[in-house]
C-alpha cells in the first residue's frame, strides 16, 4: 500500500491510496464518518419562544449547527469520569436570548467555553418579528456520526482510479475524442492517445463505440476525499479515525486473548 497527498486545503483533502482494496478503504471511510467524535447541541431547554418556529424545530436547527471541536478537553459522555452524569469534561452550556424584530444567527449563541463556538457565525436560526422573543439554554456534548448525522465530522468518499487502455488504434479516432464526456483522449499526429486517464468515469462509451479497441477498467488504487464540515480539520478527521479504529482492534485483541483460556 502507498499513500500520496494530491490536494489539501482548510476544508478538503484528497489522497491517492495505492494497492489497496475497496473493503479496506471503505472501513477507513466508515471510521472517519461515523466514529470520529465532534461537538453538537443535544439538549435545549426553552425559557421562552413565541417565534413562528416550534421549540422542536428550533432545537433541530440548533443541533445541526457545527461547533468547533476540541477533542483534547472533552470526553464522550459514556467514557467520561462522571459516568454519564454530566460534568465540565463532557458537557458545554450555550445560551441565547433575543427579541425581535431581527434575525437570530448562530453567532448569537453565547458559549461558556470560548474555544467551542459555531464554525459559521452567519447561520440563521429563526426570524423574530416585533414583539416576538426567544430564550433558551442548550447543552452541547460530544457524539459520533453513527448515532446522529449531526455529529459526523464531514463527507468522506472514494472512487477507483480508472485505467484507460488503447489496445488497437480505432478507425475513427477523432470521433472517440469528441464523444468522451470527460475529455480523456487526444489525437496527436493522427494517433489516438490517453490525455487524462484519471478523469475517466467508466461510462464505457468509447469501448462500445470502438467495439473493444479501447478498454477501460479499474486499478486497485483509490482517490479518497475527506471534506470537513468545519468542526475538525480534514487531517484531524483522518488521524482520529485511524486512532479509533486502532483502539477498537486493541480491545478486540484483548477479548480474543480471554476467549483462548
Amino acid at each position: 500500500m502507498n499513500v500520496k497527498l494530491l490536494d489539501s486545503s482548510k476544508e478538503k483533502m484528497e489522497l491517492r491510496i495505492g494497492e489497496s482494496s475497496p473493503a479496506y478503504v471503505n472501513a477507513l471511510r466508515r471510521y472517519m464518518a461515523f466514529e470520529v467524535p465532534t461537538m453538537a447541541i443535544e439538549d435545549v431547554e426553552f425559557r421562552s419562544n413565541n417565534s413562528i418556529l416550534y421549540d422542536e424545530m428550533v432545537g433541530h436547527r440548533l443541533g445541526l449547527v457545527p461547533l468547533k471541536t476540541d477533542l483534547k478537553s472533552y470526553n464522550l459522555k459514556n467514557e467520561c469520569k462522571c459516568k454519564g452524569a454530566g460534568c465540565a469534561q463532557c458537557e458545554l452550556k450555550l445560551t441565547l436570548k433575543g427579541s425581535g424584530p431581527k434575525m437570530i444567527y448562530s453567532s448569537d449563541l453565547k458559549s461558556k467555553d470560548p474555544k467551542i463556538k459555531p464554525v459559521y457565525p452567519q447561520i440563521p436560526i429563526v426570524k423574530l418579528l416585533d414583539g416576538q422573543d426567544i430564550a433558551f439554554e442548550a447543552i452541547a456534548v460530544l457524539g459520533t456520526g453513527k448515532e446522529h448525522a449531526k455529529w459526523s465530522p464531514g463527507l468522506i468518499y472514494y472512487r477507483h482510479v480508472p485505467t484507460v487502455k488503447i489496445n488497437k488504434q480505432p478507425a475513427n479516432s477523432e470521433e472517440v475524442v469528441s464523444r468522451c464526456p470527460r475529455n480523456c483522449f487526444e489525437v496527436k499526429a493522427k494517433k489516438l492517445s490517453v490525455k487524462d486517464n484519471d478523469a475517466c468515469i467508466l461510462c464505457n462509451d468509447c469501448v462500445e463505440f470502438t467495439n473493444g479497441d479501447i478498454e477501460v477498467g479499474t486499478a486497485n488504487d483509490f482517490f479518497m476525499t475527506v471534506e470537513s464540515w468545519g468542526q475538525l480539520s480534514p487531517s484531524d478527521i483522518m488521524i482520529k479515525g485511524v486512532e479509533v479504529f486502532n483502539a477498537q482492534l486493541t480491545d478486540f485483541k484483548k477479548l480474543l486473548a480471554d476467549v483462548k483460556e
Binding site: 413562528i52 436547527r61 445541526l64 426570524k127 463527507l155
Partner: protein, 65 residues
Amino acid sequence: MIIPVRCFSCGKPIGHLWEPYNEKLKKGEDGKKVMDKLGLERFCCRAIFLGHVDLIDIAAQYKKF
C-alpha cells in the same frame, strides 16, 4: 419557510450561504457563478438553493398551532 442549516442529502452546512447568495443575485450576478463561488459544488446543495422560497416573513405574522 427558512433556509435549512444543512443540505438534506450530503449534510454540508449551507444556511450561512443563503444571505450572501441572495445579495449577489440582487446585484445581477449569474446564479451558477454565485453558487460556484460559494462552494456549492454538488447538485444536492444547489437544488436546495434553487428551490427554496423564504416564507418566514409571511408565516411569522400568523399564530402557530
